[in-house]
């Protein structure tokens, strides 16, 4: 983790999950797993965040919120889909109000398996996302015109 120039902050949104993955995301922040020691902070504000953690699938009502949250995050950003529901809809995929995985709405960089995903695999997914984030940052610095940089972004 030494290559990290910045402390990556995460924002979490619960699509239509059963809650199992959400509490495991929170558990990853608490003393046993404690990702805060790496500077990873759970923020409620998408404009402060680098990594977007989504649990659960999308439906007609929350797709706009997922999209909105994603759009508000500054570049570069990565999306981690946590749990099988966020990947495909999982056990609920045949329900009438489940559209499927969140990749139907926003691009996903890392898929974390599990029902419910374990904190260890969530942390593993976030670490992989950090690599992708760094690569995106590098690509952005080399070619500043390629990614649209929101106004007022100090980085």
């Amino acid at each position: 983790m030494t290559y990290l120039a910045k402390s990556p902050w995460i924002v979490h949104y619960d699509g239509s999950s059963c809650n199992g993955c959400d509490i495991e995301v929170l558990a990853a922040l608490t003393p046993i797993y404690d990702v805060e020691r790496f500077g990873i902070v759970n923020t409620g504000n998408p404009k402060h965040a680098d990594i977007f953690l989504v649990t659960g699938s999308v439906n007609e009502k929350n797709r706009e919120i997922v999209k909105n949250t994603y759009d508000q995050m500054p570049e570069p950003k990565v999306v981690v889909a946590i749990g099988i529901c966020a990947a495909t809809g999982g056990i609920f995929r045949e329900c009438y109000n489940v559209m499927g995985g969140i990749d139907k709405v926003i691009p996903v960089d890392v898929y974390v398996p599990g029902c419910a995903a374990r904190p260890e695999s969530i942390i593993d997914g976030v670490v992989q996302a950090l690599g992708i984030l760094e690569a995106k940052r590098k690509a952005m610095n080399e070619n500043p015109g390629a990614a649209k940089k929101p106004a007022g972004d100090a980085r």
Partner: protein
């Protein structure tokens, strides 16, 4: 007249782990009304009973909610067993009760943490969740899963717990009781906590009763309802005290949950001393024909599973009424008249579980 403004609260909000949306009608800093709207995590899996066999639906019933998953699974199984008139072996009843009470411990500790977070006491949040991990370790050792256990099935349970493991769990609970004692002392006696919770979000006994509050929300207002008293599972053989408090504010609801932690530990230890040896499941043949309302006490209150079968492998209807849904009208009542800065504390005080609510 002061000008009214509407402030949206949620669905994506720092104190809410799950999305619920409230339109708060404000006059200056005072909330005069709250208009809830739900539906962000509605999946509609009640309809899946038509596509899944009744034995497979246990897994879906369990995933109603990741916090009280075991109780959902057990309630569904008990409902089906009532329709099919299956006698569950006594040991299975006790094991279900032990896991249910562990679920309550884990849920209440989780809630205490989130509640502390809602009034900005980060350290307490971490302390509560650290103890909670010890409960999850027990789940992992006995069922293989941390939050979704999958150990309940129609006709009994899937796994047994060896007797020496059970007595080990009982001894472990003594040290957990000590840690919880220290934790709840802070919640109940600390000045800063008291300042944020006393006389905040008051719900009178009459309102709690008439608006249909359930669980610790009702018991915090002095309504002594506890479904465990109906004696499902092994509860008829155990001594279940009902804990109530009379003030009806956030502190009372916190008090009830803090004391219930100790009740749960007592119940588990009592169950471990009384658990009989024997088989853990019976063979299930045939299919359910008939209907049943199964009621059980979840950490948040009364849970109802209505099940109807027509003699085939597929049920005709499943209806789940969860405690948070019935606690939303009392929540709206509590919010009327409070200050905007207290809204997160009050919303958290009913222990909202939106995944349950919207199914």
């Amino acid at each position: 007249m002061t000008k009214q403004i509407i402030v949206p609260f949620g669905p994506q909000h720092p104190v809410l782990p799950e999305p619920i949306h409230l339109d708060l009608v404000l006059e200056d800093e005072r909330v005069v009304d709250a208009i809830p709207s739900i539906g962000y995590i509605h999946r509609g899996f009640e309809k899946l009973v038509e596509k899944r066999e009744f034995t497979e639906y246990v897994y879906i019933a369990e995933r109603t909610c990741g916090i009280c998953s075991f109780i959902h699974g057990a309630t569904y199984c008990q409902g089906i067993e009532q329709i099919m008139k299956i006698e569950v072996p006594e040991r299975a009843d006790y094991l279900r009760t032990i896991w249910s009470e562990y679920s309550r411990l884990h849920s209440h500790l989780l809630w205490l943490g989130c509640f502390a977070d809602s009034f900005g006491f980060e350290n307490l949040f971490m302390a509560a969740w650290r103890i909670r991990e010890r409960i999850l370790d027990v789940f992992e050792q006995t069922t293989g899963g941390r939050v979704i256990q999958g150990s309940c099935k129609i006709g009994g349970v899937r796994r047994d717990i060896a007797n020496d493991k059970l007595s080990g769990m009982s001894r472990d609970l003594d040290s957990i009781r000590k840690e919880i004692g220290e934790l709840t002392t802070v919640f109940l006696n600390d000045d800063t906590v008291r300042h944020r919770t006393r006389n905040i979000g008051v719900l009178s006994r009459d309102d709690a009763y008439h608006l249909g509050a359930v669980g610790p929300t009702a018991r915090g207002s002095g309504v002594a309802i506890d479904l465990r008293k109906t004696g499902y599972g092994a509860y008829d053989r155990l001594n279940v005290p009902v804990i109530t408090d009379s003030c009806g504010d956030c502190y009372s609801r916190c008090y009830v949950r803090c004391k219930e932690l100790f009740t749960s530990i007592d119940l588990i230890q009592q169950a471990i001393t009384e658990i009989p040896d024997g088989p853990i499941d019976v063979k299930v043949t045939g299919a359910p024909n008939g209907e049943y309302f199964m009621r059980a006490e979840q950490p948040r209150g009364e849970l109802v599973h209505y099940l109807k079968g027509n003699g085939t492998k597929f049920l005709v209807r499943s209806r789940i009424r969860t405690p948070t849904l019935t606690n939303i009208p009392p929540l709206v009542k509590m919010l009327q008249g409070c200050e905007l800065a207290d809204v997160p504390v009050i919303v958290l005080s009913i222990d909202p579980c939106i995944s349950c609510t919207e199914r």
